[in-house]
Structures are given as C-alpha cells and as structure tokens.
Symmetry: C2
Subunit: 487 residues, 2 copies
C-alpha cells in the first residue's frame, strides 16, 4: 500500500467501523508496536478494532481486495512475536470481542469470544464448581483467542492438556471472508480434523471469532509436595520415575539452586536454599485419590534419591510454595542485567541427560543458566543470564540458546513448548523440519490463505530462508533441496 493512498483506505474502513475503531496517528499506534517479545518492534500502517463479526468480515474482504497483510492481536502477551505488526499491514485487535456468550453446565462447556481473558472464564463459572484448565503464566491478562492461536499450556497442562485438548469448537473467518465452523460439541467429528490444525497456527490460517471451551469440575482436594535433591540430574530422573509409575501430577515443576535462591529471596517461599534442585509435585482429585497418590509419589521420590520431602501442611503453605515458583522469572531478573528465556521440549525420559548437557554448555560459554520449568511434560525453560552492555555477549547468548534448542531436536524433542514460533524461532524451524515437511506446511497455508496475507513471515519459514540459514549453519549434513523451493 502506497502511503499516499492511506487516507483513502482509512476513509473506506471508517465507513463500516466505529469512530474509535480505526487508529492511525503515531501516538495511537505506539502501544501496538510489539507484543510480549519486546526485542522486536514495528509500527503497523493502521490498527483496526472491530466490534462485530460483520465488521471483521468486511475488513478481511477489503484487505484481500487491496492485497494488504493482516496481523491479528489478542492481549499482546505472546512471547515469540506472533502479534508483531507489519509496517505495510493492518493490525486487527480483537480486544472488543470480550463477551462470554453462553455457559452450559449440563455439557460443561462455555462459548466465548476470542478477547475474553483466560482467567475470566474460570471466574465466570466458579459458582458452578467449574473451571477452565489451561493456565499460562499470563492467565490474568492473556486472551483465550491468543491461547488458541499459540496452543498455550501452563503448569497444569501435564494432567489436563494443552489448549487443543480443552476446546471443542471454533468459529473462524478466512481471509476471503468465509465463515467456517470447525469441530463441534460431539466426541468425534467427521471430515478432516481442522480443530487441531487451527490451534497453534499462530494467526496464519484464519481469524477466530468464537471458541467453545471445555470446563472441568474443580477438584475437591489439592496437595503439594516440596521435594529436595542433591543434583539436578537426580531430580530430572525422579520426574521420569513418577510418570513411569503411572502417577500424573496436576503440576510437576523443577527449579535448580540458582532459581531456588532467587525465588526464595524474592517471595520468601520457605525453600531449602542449599538443595541442588527442588520439585513441586501437586496432586489433585478426590480426597481419597489424593491421599493414595501422595503416598505412592512419596515412595517413588524416596527411591529416586530425594534428600527431603515436605508436604505443605495447609492451604496457606501450599500457596506459599507456589508463590516462589510463580515469582521465579522476575526473581531471576534481579540476578543479572538481562536474561534470555528459552522454551524447548524433550521426551521426559531424556531430562537427566539434557540437563547435564545444558550445564556443560553453560560452563563452556561461561554464561550462567538458571532452570525453572514444567518438568512433567519435558518443557524446559533455561534462562541464560547475560549483560547486553558487554560487547558480543548477546550474540554468544543467542548462539548458546540455539545450541540448547538443537539438543532438544536431537533427542527427539522440539524447539518450542508453549511460546510458539512467531518471529523468534523462525530459523530454528529449519532445524526441526526438512524441506518436504516445510513444503507441506506452505501447501496447508495456501489452502486457507492463497494470497499469504494473514500474518506473513511468522511461524513457517520459507525454504529460501532456510537455505540461507542452512548455508550459515548446516545441520546433520542435510541442506534443503533446491528443487523443492516452490515457496
């Protein structure tokens, strides 16, 4: 879009959008320049804030007609830059789609608009003894539409699943303005399963206008064990042992010594400050189930080499134990001028080995790494501490981070657990997938958005980009096949 034609575009949008629904001054655009990954910033050409589904449809049809890229934005809490604007594109805010449309206690579902906050769903159904399970750290602020776009997880996704396991139906609008219903209220759905495909597609396939989520009954009992270990690898092995014995804790979090001390200084959580690692192991269910599983878990943890096992003696102490974990990221922020939070996933049984290799890399690069993560589902969050003011240290940090992600891929894991690919990990996608697989992804994109106007440049790298990345950085001797470079 030529800058000269911008006033005409604004006028066209204002025909069907409310007066305050089209933002174009530099001042109005500034708050939209980045999402939770603030290292990347860009000013969008325009921000539109529709209030009705008909307005979304009109925006998308107009942008298709004029070949203008569209980036959707929920609450802007994403950590991989999925909602980073494009300078030649429109940013479509779903902030005004913030209503809970229906709560069905018989079917235990809620129909909600995409701008509803994650926590607002649980608050709205609490009086029925129900809640919505996925609980990303940002749940007080993040929107359910963004959760679907990123397939968000959280502390409790080990037992209760990711977003994809907790939704039943989506209403979407394609870039051409077509309305599609995806999934349904029944257990299975005929035709191709597009619900999982849409979930985690990072805004590249369609705009979500409505979500039917599953609700769960609140467990009648919840207890947490604080378990200490003399080495991080032993704690990692204990995680495997717990799961291998058929216990699925509601949450199973690991923190190493640096994280323990930082969190305890910050939140006074009562942690064992000299432990090499702790696990927080939460069990929920009926009173009988919880007692039964806690006893089993204690036996396993003892056999796995735990040096101390403490059961939170009441709800107050349980919340105190969790307060430390929840404060861990800001607490680590006080240890160093800067830190880089990685997000990779590995098969659980590889935990002990991978944690040992991360420690070796940390020594090799002489950059401290703090570990605080969702151990139960193998979702690592190594925090690399660095100082951006020391020349070359950011670059060495990024190189170290890349090596950690490559270890994740090497052991059968992935380059992202719950933060998405966005713009942050677009190069690592070239490590994760080969050319044939990326080509298939582009064909899927084409099936929904043939003009590539929805959030272009995010999530799926072009083969050209991977060839360039590969030239710098060849993996396992494989380079992308140039003959496949249709995209």
């Amino acid at each position: 879009m030529d800058k000269l034609h911008l006033p005409a575009l604004i006028a066209e949008l204002q025909k069907f959008l409310p007066a305050d629904g089209v933002l174009h001054s530099a001042e109005d655009l500034a708050p939209y320049e980045c999402d939770g990954l603030s290292a990347y910033q860009a000013q969008p050409m325009l921000v539109v804030i529709p209030e009705t589904i008909a307005q979304i449809e009109s925006i998308l049809k107009l942008c298709t007609e004029k070949n203008i890229p569209v980036v959707a934005r929920g609450a802007g809490t994403g950590l991989s830059g999925g909602a980073l604007p494009l300078e030649n594109g429109i940013l479509l805010s779903l902030a005004r789609f913030n209503r809970i449309l229906d709560i069905n206690t018989d079917d235990r579902t809620a129909r909600v608009q995409p701008g509803v906050r994650n926590l607002a769903i649980s608050e709205a159904v609490a009086s029925h003894g129900l809640y919505y399970a996925p609980d990303p750290s940002s749940q007080i602020a993040c929107s359910i539409g963004g959760n679907v776009a990123e397939n968000a997880g959280g502390v409790h996704c080990l037992k209760y699943g990711l977003t994809v396991h907790n939704i039943m139906k989506l209403e979407i609008i394609t870039m051409q303005g077509e309305h599609l219903t995806i999934g349904g209220e029944a257990f299975d759905s005929p035709g191709y399963d597009l619900l999982a495909l849409m979930t985690g597609s990072e805004g590249l396939l369609g705009i979500i206008t409505e979500i039917t989520v599953k609700l769960l009954p609140k467990p009648s009992a919840t207890k947490v064990l604080l378990v200490s270990f003399d080495s991080v690898a032993t704690a990692g092995q204990a995680v495997s042992d717990i799961i291998a014995n058929g216990i699925i804790p509601a949450g199973l979090e690991l923190m190493d010594n640096a994280a323990i001390k930082a969190a305890d200084d910050f939140a006074h959580a009562g942690y064992p400050r000299n432990a090499a690692a702790i696990l927080l192991c939460e069990i929920d269910g009926t009173v009988e189930e919880v007692d039964d599983q806690l006893q089993l878990a204690k036996n396993i943890l003892q056999q796995s080499g735990a040096s101390e096992i403490r059961l939170a003696k009441d709800e107050k102490e349980r919340l105190k134990f969790w307060a430390g974990r929840k404060a861990a990221f800001p607490a680590v922020g006080r240890l160093s001028p800067d830190y880089y939070c990685m997000d990779g996933t590995i098969p659980r049984y590889q935990l002990a080995d991978v944690l040992t290799r991360i420690k070796q890399l940390s020594d090799e690069y002489n950059l401290p790494i703090v570990n605080v993560f969702h151990a139960g589902d193998g979702n690592l969050h190594p925090l690399i501490l660095y100082d951006a003011n020391i020349e070359g240290e950011l670059e060495r940090t990024e190189e170290l981070g890349g090596k950690i992600l490559e270890i994740c891929v090497e052991v059968g894991g992935t380059i992202t657990g719950e933060h998405g690919v966005g713009i942050e990990k677009i190069n690592q996608m070239c490590v994760q997938f080969n050319s044939a697989e990326l080509t298939q992804f582009h064909a899927i994109k084409h099936a929904f958005d043939p003009d590539e106007l929805l959030n272009p440049g995010k999530n799926i790298p072009t083969l050209h980009r991977c060839a360039e990345f590969g030239a710098m950085h060849v993996h396992h001797g494989q380079v992308p096949h140039p003959e496949l470079d249709r995209f």
Copy 2:
C-alpha cells in the same frame, strides 16, 4: 488406464515388487472386492502388496506418473467402505507391514508398522504391565494403520480417548512420494498440527508407513456395575448425571430391552430380562480410586432412578456381563433377517431426548430399532431391523437411518462416531457441512494430493454431489452455493 495397457503396468510393477506382490487374476482379486461394508463391492484393476517403504514410494510415483488412483487397505474390517476398491485403480495392501519395530518402556511408546493388529500391540507389551487403550470391537483383526485412517474408538475411548489421543508420531508418504514425519515424541509440536488432520482422513492424504503409539499402564483394579432402568430415557439421563458429577468411567454402555433379551439368549450373561434398559458402568484405577468412584457412581445412579444396581462379584462375573455386550450385534442378528447398524454421535446431555425421538421414528416407520451403544461419549449405534426380501423395506430403512443422522446433526452432534464416512455416509456429509466448509476440505486434500489420486470419491463429497443430494433433499432451506463449486 486402458485395459490394453494393463500388462505393461503389471510388468513395470513386477520390476520392483516381489513375485507374489502383484495380484491381477479375477480369482486373486476376489477377496479384495469389499471391506466390512459388504453391501458395496468392486473389483480393483490390480492389488499390490509391497514389503518395503521404497516399494510403496515406487508404487505411488508410478501411479502419479500414470494418473492411476490408489486405495490403501489394512485388515479390511472398516464399516463405511473406506477400503472399497476402484475399478480403474490399484488397491495397495499394507498386510506385510506387520512388525513391531520398537518398544520404549521408559517413554511408554511403541513404534509399529501399519499392518500390525490392534490387539497384537497390547499382547506384545503385556509383560511390561502396559497396553494400547483404543479397543474397537474388531480389535482382534483390525490393523493399527486402519485405526489411524478412521480415528477408531471403542468401549474405553470415553476415558482413554480415540486413536488421535493415543498416537504421537506418524511417518507418511505422499502421493508424490515425499516422506513426511508428522508429530513427535514431545508434548507439543511446532508448525501446523498435522497429526490430528491425518488421523481420520480415511486414506485421502497419504500412506501411513509407521506409527508411534502411546502405551498406558494396566490399571490395578477394574470393576463393573450392571444397572437396570424402567425406561431408556431414564438410563440416558443417568449417563449425563454420572459425567456431570465428574466421574469418567472406563466404559459406559447402554442396551435397551430388545438388546438385553437378544444378548442374554445368546451369551447367557445373566442380564435382568425385564429391564427397559441397562447400563454397564466400568471403573478402573487403583484399588482405592475404584472403590471411591464406585460408591459415588452408585449414589448418583440411585438418585437418577436406577431400579437395580449389581456389582459384578468377581472377575468371572465381570467378564460374563461384558460377554453379553460384546455378543450384542451377532445376537441382534438372530432377531431379524437383516439389520442396519447406524453410527452417530450427539452431545451427551441430549441422550434422553434423542432416544425418545428414535423410538417415535421406529413406531412411525413400523421398523423395530434396537439400541446398544457407547452411551458415555454419546456415540449411538441404533440397529434397524428389516427384511431385504420385502419390497421397499431396505429403502424405508435407509430413509429412517438418514432421519436419525439428521437428528444427530440437529442437536449439535455428528453423522459418525467411529466408523468413518467412507462411501456409506458421503451424502450425509452434505447435511453436516456447508459449502464453504466442504470447499475448505477440498483445499486441504489439494494441499496433500493435488491430482486427487488417493482414495477419490470417499469421505468428502464434491459440491456437485451435494447439490444433487440437496435437490432431492433440501435441509433447513439451505442449498449449496453454486458459485463456490470449484471442486
């Protein structure tokens, strides 16, 4: 393919396939003329039985080059005609891909070839205390590749999920001969989620060459309740009440009076022959969990109006109760010269109403209907009894069956629960989905198989077909939009 050129094609295939890997005589082709839906039969041009992945790749490349359709076949137990051959196509049997490649007890996964029988997986891992959860009725014979193609369910999928919830990774070959790895061993996967898309795609998107399945620890205790009711609707309501109270039975099956009597005559299961309906409610887990949940279930069932609740007193009686349920289909087969087994799914809370409406339709058409089904997940299997020798009775049966499926769609359910669409329900797909949704499905097909050579004519109807079906049978005043008829 011109019949004259068939010998040349055979010669080309024989260059890379084993001597007994290309079948072409009428006698050799006969066993492949139908799958479990024997009402539809066709003789394929050829049957190929490859032994290696390289051979599959060569077959697909050759067929792409010569524009020959390919239908994949596992064990041929499917009930919707998904493996029905095409007269101008090749039938690709995966029978020789019958090896279990790896069992990982740490990660609780197994890597298997597609021709491995469902039950063979559980047998192979039984000594480790593990099993593979999905258990379709045909599990002694059906193959895991077919289970993935149809997203198979079974009695225990209420608690343990469908096939899609029990697999982690697929290796596939596209019609162009590309090898794709889909999914992985980690909890989440970046890029688009193609694992659920491929599962249940009925052989239209690619040929599955390897499957990594999840294994579960065998529960230490399993108990079953046999619960009687004075009306089918009350039993249906009791199902909703159990689930609404947060109990997830391992199995929750409903049988009405006709099914009870037929099954009891056949299997001497000790059922209450005068009950209007029974539920079999199975609970598994640790001993403490099972006792706890059984007590809760009994209380709920009493409040829901159960007339009798019997706990199987030992393992022998538990198996006897299940023997009746498992024999129900052949038992019903003795009641009438023919029966038509329907398969639809509804939201659970609609069970009581829908069962009442099915009874009304049965009276209206003067055709008896027997109900035996997976009540817990709302998956209905009404069996319509008829006599094909009475003129017009088959047609009236199909009309009645169609009306039942339309009720399923009307209340927010689907036209299939676990049997797939195949050729059987291709017209009902026009009721389930609108033109924009079908167009999106065709675009997905195109993204994997642009020449439409894999299992054409199954699963997803053309818009043209829906327009013809709609002309006979307009639903809710909506007819497909002719302007969308790109396919």
